[in-house]
């Protein structure tokens, strides 16, 4: 009975996902028909001229998430090593609860903090490079870094605690210092779990909407010549989520191709976050074996 039920619920979940993807594919068909592959490789999005190229938005999404990851990963790993390896058990749990609380703060709250503090900070800090305003890809990236930090810390902490303490004792018995034990025993053994923490955090960063929406500037068609040019990060940009969160969805409704283009964006995002999340879960799983 339990078995039948669990099969049933698994199928419901699977069916829901399939249906979701199916609806997105079906609803976005007009734009694929209209643009073809140009929908992904095109660099111009002008809906009144019926031009739908999403590359600048894909660029924005990826760059913002990468900035966040690069900033949050060292901090997150460092904090996790501290909580997992150095803090006494009781204190560790208290700290962990606090960090997990941070992960639960609604993203609009982070977004408002971003507007209040981060925008002006970035705007003034990089004044020499003459950003046009405080709404930049970098601002969104830094804000996202703060938001994904708790995810990285708590998952990495779990991964480190997953390393058996017998190994640590053996290392100490062989005369390794505490720091050496962490660096050459705990970290290497937990590396799959740490990788999974990064990938799951990346998944969250890619899909974050409202906080990014408030600080990224929402400027269409901003694709720099050099993708990794740091100066370009100080320009406003558009991510897939900030586009979908804007009022254009209301305009698109009723126009087959335009609506298809918006749904297509959702499909692209779903594919991106889905891939990263699947990789992350798969990555973490194998570490138990």
């Amino acid at each position: 009975m339990t078995r039948a039920l669990s099969w049933f619920f698994s199928f419901v979940a699977l069916g829901a996902v399939t249906l979701l993807v199916g609806v997105f594919v079906w609803q976005s068909l007009p734009v694929w028909h209209h643009e073809g592959w140009h929908y992904i490789t095109g660099t111009k999005w002008f809906f009144r001229q019926k031009e739908f190229g999403t590359l600048p938005m894909i660029y924005g999404t990826v760059i913002v998430a990468l900035i966040a990851l690069v900033l949050a990963a060292p901090l997150g790993f460092g904090a996790a090593i501290f909580t997992a390896e150095y803090l006494p058990r009781r204190v560790r749990l208290a700290v962990k609860v606090l960090i997990e609380l941070l992960a639960g703060v609604p993203s609009v709250v982070y977004g408002l903090l971003g507007i209040l503090l981060l925008r002006d900070w970035i705007y003034n800090l990089f004044e020499k490079f003459e950003p046009l305003s405080g709404d930049t890809l970098l601002t969104a990236g830094v804000l996202l870094a703060v938001m994904i930090l708790p995810t990285i810390v708590t998952l990495s902490d779990d991964a480190l605690r997953g390393v058996s303490s017998a190994q640590r004792r053996a290392a100490r018995g062989l005369g390794l210092t505490h720091a050496e034990t962490v660096l050459s025993i705990a970290l290497p053994q937990a590396k799959r779990g740490l990788g999974a923490a990064l990938l799951l955090a990346l998944g969250r960063a890619l899909g974050e909407t409202i906080a990014v929406f408030l600080v990224v500037g929402r400027q269409d068609n901003n694709l720099p010549e050099h993708v990794f040019s740091l100066r370009a990060w100080l320009d406003a940009g558009q991510t897939i989520t900030s586009k979908l969160g804007g009022s254009e969805t209301n305009i698109a409704y009723g126009d087959h191709v335009h609506w298809g283009a918006m749904v297509g964006l959702a499909l692209l995002l779903l594919i991106m976050t889905g891939t990263v999340t699947l990789l992350g879960t798969g990555f973490g799983k194998r570490s138990d074996a």
Partner: protein, 280 residues
Amino acid sequence: MKILPSLLALLVVTPTLFAETLKINGSTTVNLPAAEAAEILRVEQKMDIQIDTQGGSSGGISMLGDGLIQIGMASKPVSDDDRAKFPKVKFDEIHVGQDAVAIIVSKDVWDSGVHALTKQQIQEIYESKITNWKDVGAKKSIRIAFFNKEPGRGTWEVFAHWVYGDPKKAPQVSFPEVGGNEETRNKVSSTRGALSQLSSSWADGKKVFALGIKGDDGKVVDPTNENIANKSYPLSRPLFLLTNGEPTGAARTFVDFMLSDRGQELVKKHGYMRLKDLGK
């Protein structure tokens, strides 16, 4: 694509099974105070009101024309074309407020001496032909940081209508975009060289400054209540509730509430001008 409209139709049709549901639809601009009024009437008078913004002003007009709703909301007058499309419907426009759009700038721009722009200059800024405040009379060189109001917002429509005659004729541009009034004011006030479009009642003259519009004769018209009321300030539009003939029953109650002092306070709260401000 077919499924969504039929689902929506279902949502609209189902409540007709119950008597006395007041259905309202149309412009998002008018919706702000109207939705709040509906909320008050629901609680205080136990009225059953459904309010929605499918299709904006045009949606309000056509759904009233089709008899799907009792009150339409529109931020533009009903055109002769609309009246011709629904010959049996006697559109009654009830003026409940006025929305004026100010062209606002940050303090440094104001202090550098730019207090007014011509329509031509605004158009060239919109098309990125002018990118420095110095070219429009500033004492020093400041880059123009233009925050475009999201297309689809009422404020943007008024702006585009004024500059290009028809929002559909406005060229497509890529500027950073802003949405709500609070966001616009915040971002403009904290950015050097900033420019944006904003509902005039939000231009406080402390953090952000409303530019005047310089006419062909060189005369500057500021967005003051008086200039908006006598229509010499060009960027404004009326907010209407639409009914088919004189409103009766629940629709009458709703219209009367919007015209009452409390209803008018809601109009003001959402950044529009009350009828009283217009001298009516």
